[in-house]
């Protein structure tokens, strides 16, 4: 076994070296700026005062609360949408499939303007809502709207691909054995697509946390209400680079924790289920 691996490695040597080289370049390219950020932020004396300041704590809280709500909404609504698209032959759903990815391509600022045109006080839906006394812009709800709009495609896309990749026969088999569609969905479909779903979940969550352009445009910037971490970073950037760096470091740590957490949970659960 060991011998065979070694032979295989020897045969593949040129491409192997090339592969390692490419990985090194990639790691440096992505890693260096992040490492620089960490070093600069950690070496600034203000890092703890910034982290412990009430403004920062409010921004972290708001970021976590809004992104959790956004992710829950996206999963609850996005899972059935993705499932139907992957199982149906309907032309309308096929077209919908293309449109779902649109927010990924839109520059976030455009997304923000679009949200204003729809849900703003003068917007298509926003104007009648205003008559009823409901205003969305400049509220925490607007932050969640912006996050859902921008981040949902990442989950739905990943879920749709996963649902499409599993063997329909397994689902059919379960149903022929007299199991209900719900039972089949929970015990067959979900476990088989678990990795794809959690990957999508992690991406969507990360995107919600880092959402910035649409939020600034649609929700504004108000401490405790609409100022999430990325907005706090921009605000600090204008006056105090060190504060901005410290905030960036915190956002980075929170994001890494979430990504790692989901990854660990996912691999543990998929082992358990199999």
């Amino acid at each position: 076994m060991t011998n065979r691996t070694q032979t295989a490695q020897n045969i593949n040597k040129p491409s192997h070296t090339l592969g390692v080289l490419i990985i090194c370049i990639y790691v440096c390219f992505i890693g260096l700026p992040l490492l620089a950020l960490i070093i600069k932020a950690a070496s600034s004396a203000s890092v703890f005062t910034v982290i412990l300041s009430p403004t920062t704590i409010q921004a972290i809280k708001l970021s976590i609360v809004t992104s959790v709500i956004s992710v829950i909404v996206i999963v609850v609504v996005g899972t059935p949408v993705a499932y139907m698209i992957s199982r149906s032959d309907s032309k309308i759903l096929k077209i919908l499939d293309v449109f779902i990815e649109l927010p990924i391509i839109l520059p976030p600022v455009v997304a923000g303007v679009a949200m204003l045109m729809a849900f703003g006080r003068q917007g298509i839906i926003g104007a009648p809502l205003e008559q009823l006394g409901i205003t969305i812009p400049f509220t925490t709800t607007a932050v969640i709207f912006a996050q859902i709009f921008v981040a949902a495609p990442f989950y739905i896309r990943s879920a749709r691909i996963s649902f499409g990749a599993i063997d329909n026969d397994l689902e059919d088999l379960s149903r022929t054995l007299g199991k209900s569609p719900w039972y089949t969905f929970w015990r067959i479909t979900i476990p088989l697509t678990w990795t794809g779903l959690t990957t999508g979940l992690a991406l969507t969550w990360a995107r919600s946390l880092s959402e910035f352009g649409a939020t600034l445009m649609f929700a504004g910037n108000m401490i405790g209400k609409t100022q999430t971490m990325p907005l706090g970073i921009l605000t600090a950037m204008e006056t105090d680079l060190n504060a901005a760096l410290s905030l960036s470091l915190i956002l980075l740590i929170v994001s890494v924790c979430i990504l790692l957490g989901i990854h660990l949970l996912s691999s543990k659960l998929s082992k358990y289920r199999s």
Binding site: G120, Q122, F138, G220, N221, T226, T235, E238
Partner: protein, 197 residues
């Protein structure tokens, strides 16, 4: 400013904030003295939907009014803050109240005066605090009107220009700075709503 202090090479740096220029001078990035070439007062623009509801400065303290201002990390935001600070001793109604009520109505601290203008023009905000030069732009005037700021409260923003650290263009740099103070430049600036005296 951040770009210059991190090594961006520029011929001329113009700023609405003398502090930023002083900061660059202290750090040794820039060594010549800035010249004052224009100034700009603050204006309060109100979306046309509020005609009859918001007519004078004190109306800003009313109920259900959405005010957007710029964040104090940009010059216009600092001027706005100063304007509201000026308010305390002179207010007609119970002193702190007017100021508190206006602060209560602020719904967002935007990252630039452009966003303040945009949100007021769109009507998402009822009121925006901007530069007089912004208030005079045609597309702004089409959707908004201005209300007077009591003279003793208003704040004047000043614009300075200074030679950057980029070398080799000294003549051109001087020429441009001289031009900025010329009558032609003044009339152009005035046309766009700036004060030049």
């Amino acid at each position: 400013m951040m770009q210059i202090s991190h090594g961006a090479q520029v011929d001329i740096y113009a700023s609405a904030d003398l502090n930023q220029i002083s900061h660059l001078q202290r750090s040794g990035t820039i060594d010549s003295d800035p010249i004052l070439f224009a100034s700009n007062k603050l204006s309060i623009i109100v979306n046309n939907r509020n005609i009859g509801k918001i007519e004078k400065f004190n109306d800003l303290a009313g109920d259900n009014i959405k005010i957007v201002v710029a964040h104090s990390s940009v010059p216009i935001g600092r001027y706005t803050e100063r304007l509201l600070t000026n308010l305390a001793p002179q207010s007609i109604t119970p002193k702190d109240d007017l100021r508190k009520l206006i602060y209560r109505n602020i719904v967002s601290y935007e990252d630039s005066v452009k966003s303040v203008v945009m949100k007021t023009v769109l009507g998402e905000a009822d009121v925006g605090v901007v530069y007089s030069s912004d208030a005079q732009l045609e597309h702004v005037m089409n959707h908004t009107y201005t209300i007077d700021i009591p003279k003793e409260l208003n704040v004047t923003g000043t614009y300075y220009a200074v030679k950057g650290q980029k070398e080799g263009n000294s003549n051109l740099q001087n020429e441009f700075l001289t031009f900025l103070q010329s009558d032609i430049a003044k009339s152009i600036l005035q046309e766009y709503g700036f004060d030049t005296e």
